[in-house]
């Protein structure tokens, strides 16, 4: 059996490495999501990094999925585009039934989980961490899936750096039935910390809201930042010669 047999292609050898994903190229950074009184709020910036270069600044990383769900993606942008093609087709076929039944956020989340896990098993992952949120029949749903198929639901989720910087803030300050204004304020606080501390963050973000009524994705906007903290002045004062 040669190394080019279909079942062997993804498994071994440098020749077959060109057939599967080894590392990401254009990537998005954190996505943060919370449940609030009327539904779900998702936030993500519009950056697409090319390694350490902040190359693309109008990448929409938050998208709607059918009537009841929104998705936010971090990781390889081209893989996210592929995922969106799949999801759009899924929703299309679901709509074509035209029978009063529709795929809700739980169903979409599980479908995504199957997709991500099956790709992982073939050693050819979709290099993304996804946040999936939605409301159906009054039930709020917020979940996440990683590139290896790890999936779970919670009241607040984040991907990448957001797990380290935003989740602690959310654990302290999130509570059930926040108002829209409270939710946005909390998300902006998280995004601001990420902007200060994540080198791949850019100051241009969108917030997506989904309720029983429908989806709104905000126009891009920037957060106000403050750099005159005394700790930022003369940062090398304690270590001459460093930068």
């Amino acid at each position: 059996v040669t190394n080019s047999a279909p079942s062997m292609i993804n498994l071994i050898g440098s020749e077959s490495d060109s057939q599967r994903t080894l590392y990401p190229y254009v990537t998005g950074t954190s996505v943060v999501g919370i449940k609030y009184k009327d539904g779900i709020l998702l936030a993500a910036d519009m950056g697409g990094s090319y390694g350490s270069t902040l190359r693309y600044k109008t990448v929409e990383r938050l998208k709607t999925v059918g009537k009841h769900s929104i998705i936010g993606a971090s990781g390889e942008i081209s893989d996210f585009q592929e995922i969106m093609r799949n999801l759009d087709e899924l929703i299309l076929y679901d709509n074509m039934w035209d029978d009063g039944n529709s795929l809700g956020p739980k169903e979409v989340h599980n479908y995504l989980t199957r997709m991500m896990y099956n790709r992982r098993n073939k050693f050819n992952p979709l290099w993304n961490s996804l946040v999936l949120g939605g409301v159906k029949n009054g039930q709020k749903y917020l979940g996440t899936v990683s590139m290896i198929g790890v999936h779970y639901e919670d009241n607040h989720v984040a991907t990448g750096f957001g797990n380290h910087l935003a989740r602690p803030l959310l654990r302290d300050e999130w509570h059930a039935d926040m108002t829209f204004e409270e939710g946005v304020k909390l998300l902006e606080k998280c995004m601001r910390v990420l902007l200060y501390r994540d080198r791949s963050a850019v100051n241009k973000l969108q917030i997506a809201k989904i309720t029983e009524e429908g989806v709104t994705i905000s126009q891009p906007y920037a957060l106000k930042t403050f750099w005159n903290f005394s700790a930022f002045q003369n940062p090398t004062a304690g270590a001459e010669g460093s930068w």
Binding site: D99, K106, E107, N110
Partner: protein, 273 residues
């Protein structure tokens, strides 16, 4: 129906535009023992008559659980029915695995119908010789469907298939308007009454029939024999006694015969003899 020169292959049309093999398959359904389904807004009841070949054997299984929210009752070639039940269960379980959510019954019956249609358009296949009453739930509540060997499917408030099903259908036609908001017990009661119609004088006991229920918040289950017998007794659904010409009839027959006519007036449709 009579034999004719267009009925050998399922892929041969008759000049009148009929596919006789498909129609013969539907005949097979009519030969099977009766199966009945009825539904309210939130619940479906399936009931069927158990026929066994002899007293020594067990009876054919005619009601199958497909998933927690769907069940089927079959009439016709039970082997075909078993195979199709396995297909239905497989589809449900695959959908549940992918979406963590129950497959809406409306979509399942379409898949089943499309599968049956394939057999009406391949020269190397034959139509399935079984009719299925599929009862279950989707987002809008409880539904009852009938899937034919022809590949057609229809939604019903209530329906009956198999031998002597017309008697049950007559009963159901009279009463179906009350089913929508019926309670669980009344729905089962109506199913038992409809089932009795198909027995043509035989006594209705729980050994002769099988009842199953599925509803919103109630997983599909086949009721056990004691429960069914209890319900039969409660609703006083007994078959009409044998005609007085039977000399071996015990003395109680006298009083039985008197109450017989009044029981018939109460709600049972007169039977075709």
């Amino acid at each position: 129906m009579f034999r004719n020169q267009y009925d050998t292959d399922v892929t041969t049309w008759s000049p009148a535009g009929r596919l006789f093999q498909v129609e013969y398959a539907m005949e097979a359904v009519k030969q099977g023992s009766a199966a009945i389904g009825l539904r309210s807004k939130t619940r479906v009841v399936l009931a069927c008559v158990n026929k066994s070949t002899s007293e020594l054997s067990s009876h054919q299984k005619k009601i199958f659980k497909v998933d927690d929210h769907i069940g089927v009752a079959i009439a016709g070639l039970t082997a075909d029915g078993r195979v199709l039940s396995r297909y239905l269960r497989n589809e449900c379980i695959n959908y549940s695995y992918t979406y963590e959510s129950p497959l809406p019954i409306g979509r399942l019956v379409v898949q089943l119908a499309d599968k049956a249609q394939v057999c009406t358009q391949r020269s190397w296949k034959r139509p399935y010789g079984v009719g299925l009453l599929v009862g279950g739930l989707d987002e809008s509540g409880a539904h009852l469907y009938y899937n034919c060997p022809s590949g057609n499917y229809f939604e019903y408030e209530a329906f009956a298939i198999g031998s002597r099903s017309q008697a049950a259908k007559t009963y159901l036609e009279r009463k179906f308007e009350t089913f929508k908001d019926s309670s669980r017990d009344n729905l089962i009661k109506d199913a038992l009454f409809a089932l009795r119609e198909t027995l043509q004088g035989e006594k209705l006991t729980s050994s002769v029939c099988t009842i199953a229920v599925v509803g919103v918040g109630e997983a599909f289950q086949i009721l056990n024999q004691e429960t069914v017998q209890g319900l039969i007794n409660e609703f006083e659904i007994v078959g009409e006694e044998l005609p007085p010409a039977d000399e071996a009839a015990p003395p109680e027959q006298g009083s039985g015969a008197e109450s017989g006519p009044s029981a018939a007036e109460q709600g049972a449709a007169p039977m075709d003899i």
